[in-house]
């Protein structure tokens, strides 16, 4: 199976009023190291604006002091268009997680409370918010409470209690990448099929 790069982007604060309480890249050292260990890669931590990153492939985990709409504003149109589906928001409020996932069709969200639980060593019952259709493919369930899910996404729950958050996220991203690949192949097949069947009558196929 091909290894997909993962980069953790910590955006510098754009606003001087967000002074000393802004997230610093060091906060994510352990998380990036453990995620990389499970994904079989090195996960670099980049301290720059989303708009200036040169990350053109792989997953991007974003921690920012501003909302995603602000971060995307300065990105070029191509990046704005294609980035969200390979984007994981890190440490956003649980209140906003499902709205942001549905609005941008993101890959996943790790909310602030879940991240705090992982840092504190709480039992690894729950993972990131991710796509509903992938839960069963990676040995997970969707949490049953309605406020932990939306049409397409839900808080993923471990069926076994051995996977902590970085491990869970690594497994999820692998399942997600596979689904994207399948969907891309399906899209190509459909396009080819449409191109064939759309040909005017009497033309050789």
């Amino acid at each position: 199976m091909s290894v997909i790069p993962i980069t953790l982007v910590v955006e510098p604060t754009p606003d001087s009023t967000l002074s000393q309480w802004v997230v610093k890249p060091e906060r994510y050292k352990r998380f990036a190291a453990e995620l990389g260990q499970y994904a079989g890669i090195t996960v670099p931590i980049v301290h720059e604006h989303l708009s200036s990153t040169q990350i053109r492939d792989g997953f991007v985990i974003l921690s920012s002091s501003v909302s995603l709409s602000e971060s995307l504003k300065k990105c070029d149109n191509a990046l704005k268009e294609e980035l969200p589906r390979r984007l994981i928001l890190l440490e956003i409020s649980r209140q906003k997680a499902l709205d942001e996932l549905e609005r941008y069709k993101l890959a996943a969200v790790v909310d602030s409370l879940r991240f705090a639980e992982w840092m504190a060593g709480a039992p690894p019952v729950f993972g990131p918010y991710g796509r509903r259709d992938l839960a069963s493919l990676m040995g997970a369930n969707c949490a049953s409470l309605p406020f932990l899910g939306s049409d397409n996404y839900c808080l993923l729950e471990n069926k076994t209690s051995t996977r902590d958050l970085p491990h869970f996220l690594a497994d999820y991203l692998q399942a997600y990448a596979q689904a994207m690949q399948n969907s891309s192949m399906l899209e190509k097949m459909l396009r080819a099929h449409i191109a064939t069947t759309d040909k005017p009558t009497g033309m050789p196929s």
Binding site: D15, T17, L18, W21, V22, V23, S64, S65, V66, S67, S69, E70, E91, I92, S93, R94, Q95, K96, S112, L113, A116, E117, M119, A120, A122, P123, V125, F126, A143, S144, L145, P146, F147, L148, S161
Partner: protein
């Protein structure tokens, strides 16, 4: 003796026969009952109307505790708290973010003996709304939570004891929100996504017992509103108008699902929740509204 009437359980409320029945409570120990009536009078009536009561000991303890609750502003308490001043054995890791104009402070609190909690508050400078989003003294699946009291600042809310942890952390967050926005005025308070098990159970119990009363009028008797009221009083505000129960995000589900979500398999929490179920006379299968919001307006006192 106040006219407490015969307060047997409403249809649909399970629980011991004695629950909130003054006749049964009196019969269990007439002398002690009379003593309680003479000491607490109308407070006893109020208690039996809005709180489950299974024994005179429970009632007596609760009434004494309610009298001890600080309902007036403690001078300089809020002013004396400085988020930058460390407290022995405690670490506060604040993170400030912006959500399209709303400023959010999340705080990981590391207390004595490896305890950890999580708090999230937000302030919208345009609407002047303070959001009390999450306050977890104990994280999901953890047996032990933060201590209930912090000895920080020059002034304590309760002399010799300290300041309740929920209030102390919220005061720090309110000060950071003030610093970030340059604004001190709060006009409205919103308590978001109420998942406090005791509050959810209590509201459901109140609805069964007082079906003729609106949720707006019942919710004020729950622990969550009392916490928020104390926070606002101690930071220099008073509630104006009524409390509003907002059901936009609420869902009616078996309470056992929310309990399981918070318990994370931890036996201590399972036992605690079983105790709460027993107190209110419900089971894990009882369907009740949860994840609702509570709102109220405030004015500077």
């Amino acid at each position: 003796m106040p006219d407490v009437g015969r307060g047997g359980a409403e249809p649909g409320v399970q629980g011991p026969e004695v629950e909130n029945d003054p006749v049964n409570l009196k019969d269990s120990d007439p002398q002690r009952w009379e003593a309680l009536v003479s000491v607490f009078g109308d407070e006893l009536l109020e208690y039996l109307k809005y709180q489950p009561a299974h024994s005179l000991t429970e009632v007596e303890n609760a009434l004494y505790n309610e009298r001890k609750r600080i309902k007036k502003r403690v001078g300089d308490l809020f002013e004396s708290i400085d988020p930058n001043t460390p407290i022995t054995d405690w670490t506060f890791e604040h993170i400030q973010k912006s959500e399209n104009g709303t400023v959010v402070i999340t705080t990981d609190v590391f207390g004595p003996n490896g305890t950890v909690g999580y708090f999230e508050r937000a302030y919208d400078p345009t609407s002047k709304q303070l959001e009390l989003r999450y306050a977890f003294l104990r994280l999901s699946g953890m047996s032990i939570g933060l201590p209930n009291w912090v000895r920080g600042g020059d002034v304590f809310m309760v002399e010799g004891k300290g300041t309740p942890t929920v209030q102390y952390v919220t005061f720090c967050q309110m000060k950071l929100l003030r610093a970030a926005t340059g604004q001190t005025e709060i006009a409205k308070v919103k308590m978001c996504s109420i998942q406090n098990i005791e509050t959810v159970l209590h509201l459901h119990w109140l609805r069964k017992r007082h079906p003729e009363v609106s949720n707006d009028d019942l919710i004020g008797h729950t622990a969550s509103v009392k916490y928020a009221e104390t926070t606002m009083i101690q930071s220099g505000y008073q509630i104006t108008g009524g409390i509003r129960y907002v059901s936009d995000n609420a869902s009616a589900r078996p309470i056992g699902e929310l309990m399981k979500f918070q318990e994370g398999g931890d036996l201590t929490r399972i036992r605690e929740n079983d105790g709460l179920l027993e107190r209110f006379g419900f089971t894990r299968d009882t369907v009740m509204e949860q994840n609702f919001d509570i709102e109220f307006d405030v004015l500077e006192a």
